[in-house]
Amino acid sequence: GESVGLHLPTLSVQEGDNSIINCAYSNSASDYFIWYKQESGKGPQFIIDIRSNMDKRQGQRVTVLLNKTVKHLSLQIAATQPGDSAVYFCAENGGYSTLTFGKGTMLLVS
């Protein structure tokens, strides 16, 4: 999950396992929640989003779950592959298409 300060949470998984990355968000008024993936040396890249009136949304090998009661968001990656190794950020929308990002979780696949 997310944390405060300089420490980047790390999740280590074996290839083929399912991965779950968690995020706590702060603004209950946000309408959209988004997951971004950042590979080493690259800018963040959009993975999937979910609107606040939904609980679950599925993409290709990824599923995002939203629990508004406890302000919790998770990203599930099925059959994790080495190419999934990256830092994953959750984000929530503000006004004028701005986003507030979480601090990130590093996923290591071996």
Binding site: N93, S97, T98
Partner: protein, 116 residues
């Protein structure tokens, strides 16, 4: 494909220098953003612009200014660089939305700035 380019991948400057970071997008996006990324702190919004010559402060605007003279170009300016501005700077762009909605932000590769 949307392409967001940043003028430099790596930049080394001295304390007190004026620094310009340039960002160009080729998809006619109205919105452009500047973030800084520091380990364990995620991405923090410095400034954004939703139209030419328009600018809005983000969460950490102190020590920075921006310029948007053309739709495709958004510049971040460090008037007098300091060592605490050593960071990775990321530019992004997106289509215009209504106030409460959002459109996907497309990011450039980043500029790693070191201030000595």
């Amino acid at each position: 494909d949307v392409k967001v380019t940043q003028s430099s991948r790596y930049l080394v400057k001295r304390t007190g220098e004026k620094v310009f970071l340039e960002c160009v997008q080729d998809m006619d996006h109205e919105n452009m953003f500047w973030y800084r990324q520091d380990p364990g702190l995620g991405l923090r919004l410095i400034y954004f612009s939703y139209d030419v010559k328009m600018k809005e402060k983000g969460d950490i605007p102190e020590g920075y200014s921006v310029s948007r003279e053309k739709k495709e170009r958004f510049s971040l300016i460090l008037e007098s660089a300091s060592t605490n501005q050593t960071s990775m700077y990321l530019c992004a762009s997106s289509l215009r939305t209504s106030l409460r909605s959002y459109n996907e932000q497309f990011f450039g590769p980043g500029t790693r700035l070191t201030v000595l």
